[in-house]
Symmetry: D2
Subunit: 343 residues, 4 copies
Amino acid sequence: MNFKDDYSIGAHPLVIERIVSANETLEASYQHDSYSKEAAGLIKEKISNPNALVRFVAGGTLANLLVIAASLRPHEAVISVESGHINLHETGAIENTGHKIISVQGNEGKIIPSEILKVLETHNIPPHTVKPKMVYLSNSTELGSIYTKSELKEIAEICKMNNLFLFMDGARLGMALSSKKNDLSLREIAQLTDAFYIGGTKNGALMGEAIIINNEELKTDFDFHLKQKGALVAKTRFFGAQFLGLFKNDLYFELAAKANQKAEELKIVLKKHEIPLKYPVETNQVFPILRNVHIDELKKKVEFYVWESHDDEHSVIRLITNWQTSEEEIKEFDQILSALLKN
Amino acid sequence: MNFKDDYSIGAHPLVIERIVSANETLEASYQHDSYSKEAAGLIKEKISNPNALVRFVAGGTLANLLVIAASLRPHEAVISVESGHINLHETGAIENTGHKIISVQGNEGKIIPSEILKVLETHNIPPHTVKPKMVYLSNSTELGSIYTKSELKEIAEICKMNNLFLFMDGARLGMALSSKKNDLSLREIAQLTDAFYIGGTKNGALMGEAIIINNEELKTDFDFHLKQKGALVAKTRFFGAQFLGLFKNDLYFELAAKANQKAEELKIVLKKHEIPLKYPVETNQVFPILRNVHIDELKKKVEFYVWESHDDEHSVIRLITNWQTSEEEIKEFDQILSALLKN
Amino acid sequence: MNFKDDYSIGAHPLVIERIVSANETLEASYQHDSYSKEAAGLIKEKISNPNALVRFVAGGTLANLLVIAASLRPHEAVISVESGHINLHETGAIENTGHKIISVQGNEGKIIPSEILKVLETHNIPPHTVKPKMVYLSNSTELGSIYTKSELKEIAEICKMNNLFLFMDGARLGMALSSKKNDLSLREIAQLTDAFYIGGTKNGALMGEAIIINNEELKTDFDFHLKQKGALVAKTRFFGAQFLGLFKNDLYFELAAKANQKAEELKIVLKKHEIPLKYPVETNQVFPILRNVHIDELKKKVEFYVWESHDDEHSVIRLITNWQTSEEEIKEFDQILSALLKN
Amino acid sequence: MNFKDDYSIGAHPLVIERIVSANETLEASYQHDSYSKEAAGLIKEKISNPNALVRFVAGGTLANLLVIAASLRPHEAVISVESGHINLHETGAIENTGHKIISVQGNEGKIIPSEILKVLETHNIPPHTVKPKMVYLSNSTELGSIYTKSELKEIAEICKMNNLFLFMDGARLGMALSSKKNDLSLREIAQLTDAFYIGGTKNGALMGEAIIINNEELKTDFDFHLKQKGALVAKTRFFGAQFLGLFKNDLYFELAAKANQKAEELKIVLKKHEIPLKYPVETNQVFPILRNVHIDELKKKVEFYVWESHDDEHSVIRLITNWQTSEEEIKEFDQILSALLKN
């Protein structure tokens, strides 16, 4: 049973179908193929911005390092919560492009407006302090939480007032937008951010993330950066086809909603067993606090990550659901827990 | 009619089949899936080196910048011919990782042993001159030529004697090894180089290059670099499946041989029309010298790149064939030329 | 009256004398001059390590970025306290060389062994997490505190056991070693660290820091990095002469002791006025907590930095003394405070 | 006897005097001291541009990497002749900041307008080719030649028309402007370039180069880059004082003229002995072609660099003069040659 991640499964059959049929034709390369163009058009339509620049790349780390390095000058830094993917789980990819990440504590994985203001205040000895120039946030976050409209608006306003770019890592944007708590639309996200991306890999695709750049300034020469970072592949039809599969008929949101639903069910199971949660369940990630001895037992039957130590006897584990997670798996997990806790 | 490149077509049907069937199972991610492991095993068998490190990445530029940056310290440089892909057509990707490319003239796209020795000689004022530490070469080269066994051996010996890594860009390795002129085996290439890669994108795959590292020293921590450069994708099964498709039953070489054969036929057509060639035709690239007025006409009917100016009235164009190039296309090209030259 | 920094004054007259007399002769360049060699020899003698590599550079930031970039591979990171100079006041210089700084809280400016162990523990998902490979610490720290022998030994042992380099920023090493609390010798510092530097700029020199590398591995090719970062000047006699001036007859420690002494006197003045201190006074930095209204008044007569906010009504200011700070200045400061606090 | 370089001697006594007297006062740090301000003012007056940004750094490589990295985005490249200092003798410093150097042949060390145009022509496949964005040239060049007004104007026009920055490395600008062949003024150089620097180290100073930025766009945030690259020293008075010494009463040009004059005398001696020159003598560098056997002999008595091989039996050596080169040295060199050639 796999609650380790949302990328151990394959792509959705409709996505695979698209890949297969896109294989037949002769296509221009390097994002000029008809599939990429159609998929980009579809996305631009959904965000109501015909001037957006849409580019497809193979993975999230590549999307992050590309957008950040393309946006900043060497002395400019990006602000992120400590648990941010770029800060913790990308092997220093951003720093390797020459830029400092200024990390702040955050709350349940989300950056807090006052933290941004505090960073601006403490980085005020030019030229000895770096120049904060971008806010990076993930939606949903690495802890499963999501940004509400009012939260994102407030952050976007602070960014605008302080000449900071706002960049959203959307590796799990589907889950965020399909959350029951969500009140943001894709269009609003496009309006509030300078750049963001829509993650395919974790929600129905084989691989691929769609980068959307709304800020005119950031569009300039972006393709040079794309090529320089090795992110420009020849047969982009492969990405275009997948995003057509995901965004025609809103399959993308349907799959994400399924994943979220299963997390909700996991939450109910955990509650039944009186297992406390470290963070509220808002998308497809669940962080129960378990006794270390139970974790060792559980590991024999279920795949998951031990996220962090809680206290001497307890740790937080991470359970992730996906659109393929079945009712049977939830039931079985319930039974495993029952057996476990009986001892 | 498309003689512009070898990546405007899709993947081979058998490769697509593999992708489809690899989609079904639950797989470990990040190169730990069963398909990647099986494909890596197959490659290691073919090169008779069970200790090689095999990793799959999305494209050639990514493979190049990854291997070079992972191998060199900041003050170490890589030697390449001027026409080398890393030197001319990767937007400064190598320099962007902090390393100098020392470019030499080369002959028909190939690096000449004496040029390597000359670079060592002229970079002899430590610490004011960079330290040459790697030789980069492409096989087949950007001009369609290939390295013979004796040529590669001589270069490898110079590298060994001078403490230089030897890295082969194999974006079109299939075509090189399937050339009529070729006397090298995949195993010999693995023995003679410290690292090389087998290009899938230009020969039957949708996207994917297989990096093979033979030098123990270069294997250390390689996966950190892979992740840091954004080259590590989650669902590596997609790459593994494709390389299984390509290397089971040697489809890879069969496809390359077909592409080469069509180039040979193009050459015959050109010879018939008494059109001179800039470089010998050894793989799937043909470089005829045409009058500029004819080039303008030809462009209306055929897709190709104008490679370089030859003299005031002539230019060199590049024609590329692939495994899908048909007899009809060759015939039609012949007829177009006939019509063109009549005027 | 200047308590803003310890580099608004010139060099010590004996140092200037050395510069003047070193100007006469014809000297080899690039660290091969007789003065640099003699100064390096003197330092190597003092640390009892004839095999150390000693190099002189113009400033502290240059020393830091040079040593760190020369020591680490791209995926390797350096651990520092948040208040560390490299983390806060060098405009992202380290990140600009491609390396992540993992920052930890620290205690009074000093890194705590358990924090290092915690970093190792949380960076344990290779290859997704960077590889911690170096501990950076300043002695004295940016908050004026110093490391005791037992503290440094414990850190050095953790480093050794965990394959981490230990690098000491000694921009104010003189003050540390001349502190009344100090029980470390220059020799012990050389034994316990892989690399460190002795700051001249803030203690008697015009400009210049002496980098000392003890670890054999880090000595290899160091001069290439020195040149590549622009840190190798032609007429290194200028640095050599200054360090001869500073280390003959231990002028360096004499000057630092004077600076520390004046800080001690400042502390007594502040105590008299019942002004609390944020950090203990161990070297030449004093951090009193003052009412914001008083700070505004004080600024009219004294130069200093406002270090950080303490609460809504108070802030911490930084007062720095140097070897030229006079008894009169201390007295005048006392009087200014008296006048200030009367209101 | 030393003809190896122009930095084995100390600084001019008047420069030393300035350093000594600048040592007395309390001065603001980081380029805000009164000496730096006065020196900057003097330079701005001489170039008739009160809006120029003037900054002082310790060496030429630092000046080059700083200006280039501060001016370019990652995908932008700098064009230089092959013999350019940044291309050959700075250990890949420019590439280490992430930027490609596109090297061209040049003529006698000078870049030729047609070569710039050719680079623009061959880098025309965006985004696969880097974007040429700056022309780097040295005046005098690494081969001792200088740019005439008409040559520089033509290059500047090409740069303007093609949106390229023009940057002049002035490590030996004094010698260029004091050449008998020169028809350029400092003011014209400032008008024609976007940035340049005036080298102190090789012409009268102990160390220090004055960077002058005329282009408004390049002035923005320059000080952040200055700090980030480790080029900002605390006691900038040391640089300011030296440049005051050099530019008050035009000592700078007087010294350079002396160095040039001695090279002229060396040329006459060489002509007398019928020794051919590789390049015309325009400043303080002389490149005679000597028999290898003679070079070996000469080395026993004179210090110089062997520059490059000429043919199997001959090599080119480099002789450099400076403002301290004496008539006696020229005479002695003449006698040594006489003795040498007799055999």
